[in-house]
């Protein structure tokens, strides 16, 4: 059940109505829980039972940690929870990746292998709720939060349908207090929720889905297109993945807000970042923060030597890449971004006392150049991320190689698979969207406009959102992770 389908609209309208007409808070939790379970089992009922069971186990482990005074037992329980969650994640998501890599290594060494390929269905959103469960038990162990007493509240924390399949990755410390809090109908909340949903639908249905029509054919056969078109596809993919995922996140935040819950913002105008560190503070924020808090800091962060700090950063980002999927191109995407971050840190140290250079970089043209450079290097790393193996046996690396060759060796080929005017219009829309959202008083100014003007503008925006989507709408990119 995709967010941008009529089926979800009816589902949500029913849940929303039943939820708000029910006066009993406990029953409301059950309504959301039942809706969330139904939402997930609409993809696969068996996997819904698995996620339900693993969540109950995490609940019991955390309760066990709270009731136990013995540190060793608490540690053992924590280990059990982490290893259990990671084992499930590895089985469903990474088993074939590891087996395949092992098989290739053995074959490269001249040995014969009969390692099987497992027939596994990847539970949708497994990476998201596994990380939520791990962060919960770790936070309970660290004493940052109390273990939740009520199973229904804990189940809702993990299964809450707006964030279940593609995040944001919610922290128990943020979410569980909200489950306890009594929800009161409020018009301002409805406005915020509605605006977020509208914005998310526009990003997904109009921008991301339309850009996919340019990106997909070019990435499938880069050698067939001229260099300028391949460059367009590289930029288009950066915009597509941003609008697809941030669109999903906006709809998730909007739905949650309409039900009285606040989820963490997942994107904060990432393409306005003037360096790669700033970029990762704005891109998929809930994952970046998770990696920082539960991998990078425990590894020692940057408190140790510079070399160790760089190693920690690259390792954390490599795992961040691996989180996206069981394939080497994701690993390399993560490592590459880790190297970018280390490079940026080194640059800052080296240029610390170069006042003239700093002043130049802080000027408007300097900032614009930095923003463009950040966008460029991130977009190029996405070439590795996006390149997939082809039915003809071409590996994802060979495919990425073809992309880079077309990018940097001027070549002839077919023109753009979609009219260039569509690409330029969508690019301009994203840029203008960033510029508008970055204006400091934009929201206050907007809220001061007369209600009929705001209402008509939003209705027109919805109208355009319904007219411009392409005939075919691919599912959200981040569902596969």
């Amino acid at each position: 059940m995709l967010f941008c389908t009529q089926k979800f609209l009816f589902f949500f309208l029913i849940v929303f109505t039943v939820y708000w007409v029910t006066p009993w808070p406990r029953v409301r939790v059950w309504i959301l829980l039942s809706a969330s379970y139904y939402f997930y089992q609409s993809w696969n009922a068996e996997l819904a039972r698995i996620i339900f069971l693993t969540t109950v186990v995490d609940y019991l482990i955390a309760r066990g940690m709270t009731t136990s005074a013995r540190p060793m037992r608490r540690k053992a329980l924590l280990l059990l929870s982490i290893l259990g969650n990671i084992a499930i994640l590895c089985y469903f998501k990474y088993a074939n990746f590891f087996l395949d890599s092992l098989r290739q290594s053995l074959e490269a060494a001249g040995a014969k292998s009969s390692i099987p390929v497992l027939e596994i269905i990847l539970p949708i959103g497994i990476s998201f709720y596994t990380f939520e469960a791990i962060s919960y038990t770790v936070d309970v162990f660290r004493g940052k939060i109390q273990a939740e007493r009520r199973l229904d509240h804990f189940l809702l924390f993990v299964l809450f349908f707006p964030h279940l399949v593609a995040g944001p990755i919610v922290r128990a410390g943020d979410f569980l207090p909200q489950v306890h809090r009594r929800k009161v109908w409020g018009w301002p909340r409805m406005v915020v929720g509605g605006r977020l949903i509208l914005l998310g639908l526009f990003k997904k249905m109009v921008i991301a889905d339309r850009l996919a029509l340019l990106v997909d054919p070019v990435y499938a056969n880069p050698a067939g297109y001229e260099s300028a078109v391949v460059w367009m596809a590289v930029v288009a993919y950066a915009l597509q993945i941003y609008c697809d995922f941030s669109g999903y996140s906006d709809i998730a935040l909007g739905c949650a807000r309409l039900l009285g819950y606040r989820l963490q913002i997942n994107f904060a105008m990432p393409f306005a970042a003037s360096n790669i560190a700033d970029f990762w503070r704005r891109w998929h924020i809930s994952l970046s923060n998770w990696i920082r808090d539960y991998i990078y800091f425990p590894l020692g962060g940057n408190r140790a030597s510079a070399v160790r700090g760089a190693f920690n950063l690259i390792l954390a980002m490599t795992l961040c890449g691996l989180w996206h999927g069981a394939a080497w191109n994701f690993v390399i995407f993560g490592t590459l971004n880790g190297i970018y971050l280390v490079g940026h840190r080194a640059f800052r140290i080296v240029t610390k006392n170069m006042t003239a250079l700093r002043r130049m970089l802080e000027s408007t043209p300097g900032k614009l150049a930095c923003i463009a450079l950040t966008f460029l290097v991130f977009s190029l790393s996405l070439v590795v991320f996006r390149s997939a193996s082809q039915p003809d046996g071409t590996t994802s690396f060979e495919q990425a190689g073809k992309m880079f060759r077309q990018l940097f060796v001027p070549s002839m080929g077919a023109g753009s698979p979609t009219p260039p005017v569509v690409f330029w219009t969508l690019l301009a829309t994203v840029v203008i969207g960033h510029l508008i959202a970055l204006r400091p008083n934009f929201l206050s100014d907007w809220n001061r406009l007369p209600a009929p003007v705001r209402g008509f503008a939003l209705a027109s925006f919805l109208f355009v959102t319904l007219i411009l989507p392409p005939e075919t709408s691919p599912q959200f990119i981040y569902f596969q992770f």
């Binding site: 409805m190 406005v191 929201l443 209402g455 939003l458």
Partner: protein
């Protein structure tokens, strides 16, 4: 833009103004489509209509013969294959495939009304009878404009008709969006929409659009399954729906009134399809055909005209089946009909 909310009263006003404005915009848009561009609801008819208008404009004096029917006729009748056929006065007839996907008695009726409204007055209407569609025929609300609902009114369950029409127009912006873009911003029409667009030859024959010649095994299974879902149970509990019979009678009446010579035919079905007829179903169907003949309508039974190996699924033919069907239709129906040799 999204995360700072206005205060309570302005927030409530914003929601009501948004909903109200959207309702107003949608209503305006629906009215615009209904009044000025009803063809946006039915792309297939739009393409056929433009082709037919072009052909009739090229030679206004040619007698027009429209061959109407369902997807079976869309794929099976190839008018471009026909040699010149002349009427008694020696004029060469313009024979046009005027079929429509999913057409049963009600869509056939609407198609005739559309032709008349466009100023096309055929000399002959050769119309298919799909036996299963006299038992049940899906309400064609997605393809018709509001005034055309009036055509369906006497021949439909009125509650269902009203509910489906309103439900469809509730989503009145999203559905005709491609037609709108085609008209105002053609560069924004996607390639998939263009690739799947209705592709017809000059006389309305299928130009590799809906006919499938070499389906994969999966496609074959799917097509068979669809045919089973749509027709098997209808044929196993076969009876005539009075409303659909009524639509056919109205078609006859209009033809009589407008002096259009109506001829009907049963289109090819393979042996699997024919095995679905319940015992006694054939008699029910033949009884209806006798009734038509008694009313002066010639009816030809073409169900056995194409052998099983020339079918894609139980009731749609491949290209070689279409050629065979077209040749036989020409020989046994069109040529004698147009030249005035079929006794009515």
């Amino acid at each position: 833009m999204a995360l700072v909310a206005p205060r309570r009263r302005p927030a409530r006003s914003e929601i009501f103004w948004t909903l109200g404005s959207f309702l107003a915009l949608t209503t305006l848009f629906v009215v615009y489509v209904e009044v000025w561009h009803p063809e946006w609801y039915d792309r297939e008819h739009q393409v056929r209509r433009e082709l037919l208008n072009d052909r009739t404009a090229e030679a206004p004096d040619r007698p027009v013969v429209l061959v109407a029917g369902s997807s079976r006729v869309v794929v099976a009748f190839m008018p471009e294959r026909l040699g010149p056929i002349r009427d008694k006065d020696g004029r060469e007839a313009l024979i046009f495939n005027y079929a429509h996907l999913g057409a049963g008695p009600r869509v056939n009726l609407i198609q005739l009304q559309r032709a008349l409204r466009d100023g096309v007055r055929p000399m002959h209407l050769v119309c298919e009878i799909v036996s299963g569609m006299l038992h049940h025929d899906d309400l064609p609300v997605k393809e018709i404009s509001l005034p055309e609902i009036g055509v369906l009114w006497p021949h439909s369950n009125k509650v269902r008709l009203v509910a489906s029409s309103i439900g469809f127009r509730f989503n009145g912006v999203y559905r005709p969006r491609t037609a709108l873009l085609r008209s105002v911003a053609p560069k924004w029409v996607t390639r998939s929409a263009t690739d799947k667009d209705v592709a017809l030859l000059a006389l309305g024959g299928d130009d590799h659009w809906s006919r499938l010649d070499e389906p994969s095994e999966d496609e074959k299974k799917l097509l068979f399954k669809l045919a089973v879902i749509r027709f098997k149970s209808r044929m196993e509990s076969y009876r005539l729906d009075p409303k659909l019979v009524g639509a056919t009678r109205e078609l006859m009446n209009i033809c009589q009134r407008e002096n259009i010579k109506l001829t009907m035919f049963l289109s090819p079905e393979d042996s699997r399809f024919r095995s679905w007829y319940r015992p006694g179903a054939e008699e029910v169907l033949l009884g209806f055909i006798e009734e038509l003949r008694a009313a002066g309508v010639a009816v030809v039974d073409g169900r056995l005209w194409v052998p099983d190996d020339k079918f894609t699924d139980p009731h749609h033919v491949k290209t070689d089946g279409a050629e065979q069907f077209t040749d036989r239709l020409e020989r046994e129906l069109l040529r004698p009909l147009i030249s005035g040799q079929i006794a009515r």
